[in-house]
């Protein structure tokens, strides 16, 4: 069964450093997403991406964050200068475009980001 994959599973970084989290969405999906879950809190939407551009973003997704689809399979989230409060589990997700499964989003296993 096709699945979303994410690398690395755990990333430790120093405050102020740049990190890139990588995802390979399900191959026939065209919508891609990043979510995060801070320990003990809800899963929160960060950004959605379609047709090589951001289609929606939350207030969390500020100028420190960027997303890119550098090739036909990868989808990345970059955090330019990490802060302590960026420590969280980051989930990538993907979905098809049309109905009836219009917004059934399939999640990867997550990358745990620890900022020291």
């Amino acid at each position: 069964e096709p699945e979303v994959t994410q690398t690395p599973s755990h990333q430790v970084t120093q405050m102020g450093q740049e990190v890139i989290l990588r995802c390979v969405p399900i191959s026939n999906h065209l919508y891609f997403y990043w979510y995060r879950q801070i320990l003990g809190q809800k899963v929160e939407f960060l950004v959605s991406f379609y047709n090589n551009e951001i289609s929606e973003k939350s207030e969390i997704f500020d100028d420190q964050f960027s997303v890119e689809r550098p090739d036909g399979s990868n989808f990345t989230l970059k955090i330019r200068s990490t802060k302590l409060e960026d420590s969280a589990m980051y989930f990538c997700a993907s979905s098809e475009v049309g109905s009836p499964s219009y917004n059934e989003q399939f999640f990867g296993p997550g990358t745990r980001l620890t900022v020291l």
Partner: protein, 115 residues
């Protein structure tokens, strides 16, 4: 932000019985609802969804009911199995007409199915 609320943090049921997980929402713009299951150290796994034009959707042992007037949905699992023990998240989105797809999640309900 409490747009999607799961008021029961935990639920324990006996194997073979029905599990009912509840979810309430406040945003009347939500038009698509989903349930996810999550094991520790894994990503959410999609279970079942329902659009606002329906009041019930069934898939095997899982049935989701939507009561739009009450802004309430529930997930029924029949019969419950020990492997169903996990955290269940309700999620909603408000974009079938506009194309918006951001999911708003509830805080989750931990289901434990006792053998």
């Amino acid at each position: 932000d409490q747009q999607v609320k799961q008021n029961s943090p935990s639920l324990s049921v006996q194997e073979g019985r029905i599990s009912i997980l509840n979810c309430d929402y406040t945003n009347s713009m939500f038009d698509y609802f989903l349930w996810y299951k999550k094991y520790p150290a894994e990503g959410p796994t999609f279970l079942i969804s329902i659009s606002s034009i329906k009041d019930k959707n069934e898939d095997g042992r899982f049935t989701v009911f939507l009561n739009k007037s009450a802004k309430h949905l529930s997930l029924h699992i029949v019969p419950s199995q020990p492997g169903d023990s996990a955290v269940y998240f309700c999620a909603a989105s408000a974009g079938m007409d506009t194309g918006r797809r951001a999911l708003t999640f509830g805080s989750g309900t931990r289901l434990q199915v006792q053998p």
